[in-house]
Subunit: 80 residues, 2 copies
């Protein structure tokens, strides 16, 4: 099973969405890697290439991206 990726930046909205959503996912159907873009800026390019414009966001293995409640734009994460 390929991993889906939950991108966040440590913001309160990010943490809230993580707690609300990830625990409700079915571990038999989805495996999620959690990436903190504020601490792992090397992966911002990968997130941009996946079509992510704000965090928190969940990139699925089918390539689709779910942007959750708006926490921060990727532009702000780059600056921060």
């Amino acid at each position: 099973m390929n991993k889906s990726v939950f991108y966040h930046a440590g913001c309160p909205v990010c943490i809230g969405a993580e707690q609300d959503l990830l625990n409700l996912l079915d571990p038999q159907k989805i495996e999620v890697e959690i990436v903190h873009l504020g601490e792992n800026k090397a992966r911002i390019g990968e997130a941009e290439a996946a079509g992510i414009s704000s965090v928190p966001a969940l990139k699925l293995t089918n390539g689709h991206v779910l942007h959750l409640n708006f926490g921060a734009s990727l532009e702000d994460v780059k600056k921060g």
Copy 2:
């Protein structure tokens, strides 16, 4: 188990988010009622009271709302 509610308005973004997300949820942890606000305008007030400002959105049993990829504002759904 109380039901969570997925509010949508039939827009392409709504349908995409529904297909992407709902199938990945763990049925042992969350039960989801799907409400089409375009066809069921009587429930728009309930959605507003829950803090929903755009669709698609998932209201959880803890009262938190996850707004997913922006499809339409609730104001536009009221007009539509």
